[in-house]
Amino acid sequence: MSVQAVAGSAERGKTIHPAWVRVTHWINAVAMLVMIGSGWQIYNASPLFSFTFPPAITLGGWLAGALLWHFAAMWVLAINGLVYVTLGFVSGRFRRKLWPVSPRAVVADIKAALAFKLSHDDLSRYNAVQKLLYAGVILAGVLVVLSGLSIWKPVQLQELTALFGGYDAARYVHFVCMAAIVGFLVVHVALALLVPKSLRAMVAGK
């Protein structure tokens, strides 16, 4: 399938997303949804703030069920994430796609986006806002895994837990990263639906 995609791209424009990006993207999408849904259920057992998540949008039914889901999907998320980040650096994709990004370009592109004047002609090139959001969500993804590890194993990984300022602080970091990822997800999905060819590119590659 990837061979075909490459051959086709030579004739009709370049491949926007190589196969490894598309595969890891969709595995990550499923793993993230499971982690978020079960994570909300776990949160509800001992809320950090004065709200809980409606049971209808959580996964697992109760604390023990949610923990089973969370500790199952964590492998998928972590291994898939590791493959993605490694290939992102090794292939040079991160450097090419996400770098450089200047504050001035971000402000200019936000203005253009709000005026619906941001160009989407070339999906293979990210604008400054995209660069910032994608780099940001990758960082949040790394942090959510690290803080998750320190909550999961606060004795075995106590040095990591201490790095986050202790167990309780690591819970807040974990929550804030989740919130950042969910915030990204809302914008990301909304914009992908607004520009359907970007969705096609993440499925078919171009």
Partner: protein, 215 residues
């Protein structure tokens, strides 16, 4: 600084009843409802995830895999960090599925700790006998599976000492505690973790004081 009475969204009676079983029948329905409610799982329908038994079976297998992975990855002799006396959480949070006043009364004089399972000596223990064992103390953070944590000062006999005395088979992986409140609390042996907090919240405080995990 907070008094916890119940876990939101969890039926206390159901949970106590179900704590005895690995994945309870009654809780399973709740579990499945939650599983089915997430639209994301539609993506996984190819895996027959809509069938709850299949999903649960897979999750159970992964959970067993996780136990093995953790045993292989982590060091069972690594100890929890200790804290100074000033770090102790006061008051230590009360956390149970009932109010403090509803905790069952235990007659200390008549109390007997019954021992069963893979042990040589099943002689029951009185509180005085437990207190006569070498006593240790430590100040460590208790982390509840629910997510909250509190630093407590723990005293009592070392669980490993007690297990040696009763001739326990140390190849066993779990120690099972049954508190006076009736909710059995399974505990891992290898990870040397007991439900200290839960014991303390129940009326079996004294027996738990007498029989403390070696961190």
């Amino acid at each position: 600084m907070r008094i916890r009475k119940a876990v939101p969204g969890v039926d206390p009676k159901l949970l106590i009843k179900d704590a005895a079983k690995a994945m309870p029948d009654a809780g399973r329905r709740v579990f499945l409802r939650g599983a089915a409610s997430v639209g994301a799982l539609a993506l996984l329908t190819g895996c027959d995830i809509v069938d709850g038994d299949a999903a649960e079976g897979v999750l159970r297998k992964i959970s067993k895999f996780n136990d093995a992975a953790q045993a292989a990855l982590f060091d069972s002799s690594k100890l929890a960090p200790e804290y100074p006396e000033s770090a102790v959480t006061r008051p230590f949070p009360f956390n149970a599925y009932y109010a403090l006043d509803d905790a069952p009364e235990v007659d200390a004089a008549a109390y007997k700790l019954e021992v069963a399972g893979l042990v040589d000596n099943r002689k029951p223990w009185t509180l005085d006998e437990l207190y006569a064992l070498p006593q240790v103390s430590q100040i460590t953070r208790h982390i509840c599976v629910e997510g909250w944590s509190a630093i407590g000062s723990w005293q009592g006999a070392r669980l490993s000492d007690f297990l040696t005395r009763i001739g326990a088979d140390t190849r066993a992986k779990y120690v099972w505690f049954k508190c006076a409140e009736g909710a059995p609390t399974p505990s891992t042996w290898r990870r040397r973790c007991t439900r200290k907090r839960r014991c303390r919240s129940s009326s079996t405080t004294r027996s738990c004081r007498a029989l403390m995990a070696s961190r």
